[in-house]
Symmetry: C2
Subunit: 338 residues, 2 copies
Amino acid sequence: MSTKTPVTLKFLAQKLNISISTVSKALNDYPTINDDTRKRVKQLAAELHFTPNKSALNLQVQKSYTIGVILPDLMDHYFTRSIFGIEQFAGKHGYNVIIGQSYDELQKEIDLTNMFLKNRVDGLIIAISKNTQNFDHLDKFKNLGLPVIYYGRNPSFNLSCHKVLSNTYQGCYQATELLIKKGHQRIAYLGGPKMISFTHDRFKGYINALNDNQVPFDASLVAYTNFDQQNTHQAIQTLFYDVTHPPTALIAFKEQILFDAIKYLRSNNYPGLDHTDYIGFGNMPFISYLDKPPFASIEENPESIGDQAIKLLLQLIDQKETVFPYQKIMIDCELVIH
Amino acid sequence: MSTKTPVTLKFLAQKLNISISTVSKALNDYPTINDDTRKRVKQLAAELHFTPNKSALNLQVQKSYTIGVILPDLMDHYFTRSIFGIEQFAGKHGYNVIIGQSYDELQKEIDLTNMFLKNRVDGLIIAISKNTQNFDHLDKFKNLGLPVIYYGRNPSFNLSCHKVLSNTYQGCYQATELLIKKGHQRIAYLGGPKMISFTHDRFKGYINALNDNQVPFDASLVAYTNFDQQNTHQAIQTLFYDVTHPPTALIAFKEQILFDAIKYLRSNNYPGLDHTDYIGFGNMPFISYLDKPPFASIEENPESIGDQAIKLLLQLIDQKETVFPYQKIMIDCELVIH
DNA sequence: TGATTGATTTCAAACGTTTGAAATGATGTA
DNA sequence: TACATCATTTCAAACGTTTGAAATCAATCA
């Protein structure tokens, strides 16, 4: 009752009057162990709720069975949804997941990688911060033979790596086409930070859709924001006010931004507010609560992205020695009309 | 280059031609170690980026330096914000945090506790599921001498435990009073699941505020929902339609519910929609995007709750042997007027 | 009978760290 | 010279597990 002896292999061995290794082998179903002993061992182990000590195990096999995940922000539904896919699969395979938030700051990201290195994670899944252009802190993993999966954000400066990404080009292409089919000829594109490569991928989808459908491109219908509210307002000002023919539709990099945009237009009593069609990336559950929800959402299926990322990572961890070509997995987007 | 030897104490010892224990003691600043040796050891360790193997360390000190957190859902901002406080402090003290989501299901919660037990976490912080009335799975921790902190949700059936909670009574009292001061005499209260004890605490705040301000209580102004949308609609139907004098103000258990409520009233063209004042618990960032935001929010400061929970937990972990009276920490709510 | 086989169990080293006890060796003291 | 003192270093066990090699013992075969 007072200080209880922990239930270890040694403890079981003493109780049964056999050696530690027999107990270990019995529990691990070694064929050389007598059926009867095996049964007795397993029975007692179950009775006493024996669970192997993870630290000892990890020390022995030289693995931590822990994987690190770095993402910008858990308040962002995209990333929160992605970890659902990660934890699901990781848990099923005996891996723990440690999540770190970089808040889109490079220094915080570097700190987290060091922390993970100290913790000897077996691998890393990362959505890089919007300021990550130098990959020294991440190359450390590669040098140690630890696999890294880049997911959710495209590290366009880093070519030799595994990636799991939304097919953001396709998503934006289809959204643009949808708006064109609906009759729009003046569609604005509000991109995210220029440091995030998705901003440019989506732009390509946008412009290709325009071209393929013989809609003239107008540079004054394109603007960018760094996610900052102030910055977004400025971009909207440029797109909707500082122009002779304002757009009749808007595609935004993120619904978060889209909401900022609409809010700004509304508070300025923009006359065309209700006749404009809005589409953003995200498909937040929250949308259904808006009086006038956007025309459509671009669903990026972040759960799948997390799922694919962890699957690839565990594969890499298991076959560390063999050569493995760099993968680039793209998950298609879907349009959801509200 | 090919298979690099890991940098261990042994490796450093060999390089320096001294014993492993000297290296260990030098790094840990034992006073018996010669200053010169200490310097040489530390220098080489830094050069070779030595980091002690966590598994070996943990095995030695019989701790995992890992704490488990169980919460219903990361999509819920309250809990997401709470982990901010937890990770912040835990990280600073060398602890890893593993997060598990119960999705408000008891079975999932039980599975998670078993997983954490297997992983030999040093302690647990949990926001119990709305269906948790039996605490056997959590008592296992107590029996093993592992501290458990109940946070965010009040386990009213479990008296002997540490709790860190929102002062939800006070929050609801003040919200009610605010509405009364604004002139409301018919204030409705929409509670959450009856299994969640906050539902009743808030009700007490509500009714005491009514009494203290000489506003008559009317039982037909009280309803409950289990968070399910359908269920909420039904409750709203009861409160606003199945009554001769509908309420002029509504306090909801959660802003999530409040949005469902407003949405329902709007889609039914409820005539008093715009003359009703709404208040909910939460203060979601999202609110600013609503055309007609609620009159006010009750901010519960979940970061503080997480922060207090982890602080208490680490305290308990460090002084495991001494007696420690059960704590009940209450964090006050604040009203935020929009 | 002595050797071989086979089934089963045990030994012992290893993983990387910590730490009290023991060893070393130089210096000072009687 | 012999011995105690002191600073410094090393030894060795321990944490709990895995696993190839060695040991045990009974049964079988020649």
